[in-house]
């Protein structure tokens, strides 16, 4: 243990170097958020002033109040975003959990190739398959409904979800199921009463992953498959304002921050599990 402490001891200039490096790195990562937040505080007249000033003068939270008038459906957009992600997450978890269990525990012919085929889905994105998806949604009569925005997104969280949960389930001791089966429990009962409770932490990681991913990537489906304003999720709702010449930047930024809030809340509470779960799944390759 003594050598541990020694190897981690830095000289003062190394310390300065490390902090400078971290500062540089985080400056890149966080700059848009800092700038976006400061912009949301700047009154329009000061916002459009040259030369550039980093700190806002006459900072105020006005934009956070006036944006509700300019974007009357803002609340609805945020609600839509959350609704789409929530339903997508529920569908995703219902599909992913049994499949992950099958891959983790059962030995059947073609298991390896099938898992590979699932993972190959990650290769394609909604953008590449947009044309047939559009036709598919049209023939299902789903264009301009919530489901047109939910259904495609779910398909693309399934592969990674299965992979993460399978990794987690592999760590659950097999003896528990064997004992239940020996006691005469059915396979389904064993899955529901033994495996599901034990896999809950893993399922939560998958649910967070699915929620954040669907929330982050709903733009293209919403842009293409839905033209009804009242169904638009936040990114597309705001995009309509973004495209204009006279963008009201401070309000746009204020609205953006409000839309980011739900994911931040989810993330702050759960980031520890998410990072641990995601990286464990990745390194097990």
């Amino acid at each position: 243990m003594k050598s541990n402490a020694m190897i981690d001891r830095y000289r003062w200039y190394e310390m300065v170097g490390i902090y400078a490096g971290i500062a540089l790195f985080l400056a890149f990562v966080l700059a848009p958020f800092v700038e976006g937040f400061l912009v949301s505080l700047k009154p329009l007249t000061y916002l459009f002033s040259s030369p550039y000033k980093f700190w806002p003068q006459n900072a105020s939270f006005d934009a956070y109040f006036t944006m509700w008038e300019r974007v009357p459906l803002l609340g609805r957009y945020i609600f839509n975003s959350i609704l789409i992600s929530t339903i997508g997450t529920v569908i995703g978890v219902i599909l992913i959990t049994p499949a992950a269990y099958a891959f983790a525990r059962f030995d059947f012919r073609g298991r390896g190739p099938l898992l590979g085929a699932f993972l190959a889905v990650n290769m394609f994105s909604g953008a590449v398959l947009l044309i047939p998806l559009y036709r598919l949604m049209r023939s299902f009569g789903l264009l301009n409904t919530y489901f047109a925005m939910i259904v495609p997104g779910v398909a693309f969280v399934i592969p990674t979800g299965i992979w993460l949960l399978r990794t987690y389930m592999l760590r659950i001791p097999q003896e528990l199921e064997e004992a239940a089966l020996a006691d005469g429990a059915s396979r389904f009962y064993t899955f529901r009463r033994v495996i599901l409770p034990l896999a809950m932490p893993g399922i939560s990681v998958v649910a967070i992953y699915a929620f954040l991913t669907i929330y982050a990537q709903q733009f293209i489906y919403a842009l293409t498959f839905n033209s009804k304003t009242e169904y638009m999720p936040l990114p597309v709702g705001l995009y309509a304002f973004f495209g204009r010449q006279d963008v009201i930047w401070n309000e746009l930024m204020a609205a953006s921050f409000l839309g980011v809030l739900p994911v931040f809340v989810v993330f702050i509470y759960l980031q520890r599990y998410l990072v641990a779960g995601m990286t464990a799944g990745a390194l097990k390759t």
Partner: protein
Amino acid sequence: MTIRQSAVVFAWILLIPALLYVLVIVAYPLADTINLSFTNASLRQTYDWIGFDNYRNIFKRGFSEVILRTLVWTFFSVGLKMVIGTFGAVMLNAAVPGRTMFRVLTMPPWIVPMAIGIFMWGWMYNGQFGMISGLLQRFGVIDGPMPFLAFGTSAFWATIVTDVWIGVPMVTIYLLAAIQSIPRDLYEAAWADGAGRFYRFRRITLPLIVPALITMSIISLISTFNSFDIIWILTQGGPSGKTTTMIIDTYRTAIGSYKFGEGAARAVLICIFLSVFCFAYFRLISRFSGATMR
């Protein structure tokens, strides 16, 4: 039915919902894309089989330029993600006070809805009032306002930087996990032998994270090649097509002008590229770590 057989049946019952879903939403559209690419499908109800005409037309209309641009765009974006991600991972691995907080602060670009992060960059690139142009003017790097999205070359790089920004957190966190899984004994042995910090990085850290770097490169490569939101929101492929990548061009052709057939041919081309990348990946990773893939 034997116990083994019943287990296999049960496994398939568990698998079928997910399998069906993926077949309908991914596999069928993929087959449909290939099918459509040989037709002149559009908004009309009927369409005809026209053979390879779509593919021939693609190359007539300067698509090779778009392919080249996409490859360059992807190359720089993935390369920068790896360099910055490695840098970030090494820095965040250092045992300094506050590192847990710094690690958490790395994540926001990853979890924030992509479109919203891109809106913020849109403002930063604004010439007269944006941060980048403003700071560069203050430090005397440029003379006047610089609207980054208005010129071909700067828009090209601006979209790359935004793509890097969105991809860097995931790369950093995965590489950090890879670095942390390296046995400490190695560092301690090297340290006991008098190896310096940089030497240890070059001779221990770097070689041992190569498999993780390859894996992250291919994951980034795929998502970068498919990157749509960033370019569409910032420039819509402009100015004068200087940021039009394959995916943007496909979207314009198919959804913008409803030329489903021509768009499908472009999408097939994208899929071919992606398959080549994945094939190369499996070759590379099997060379580096023998029996990694089961």
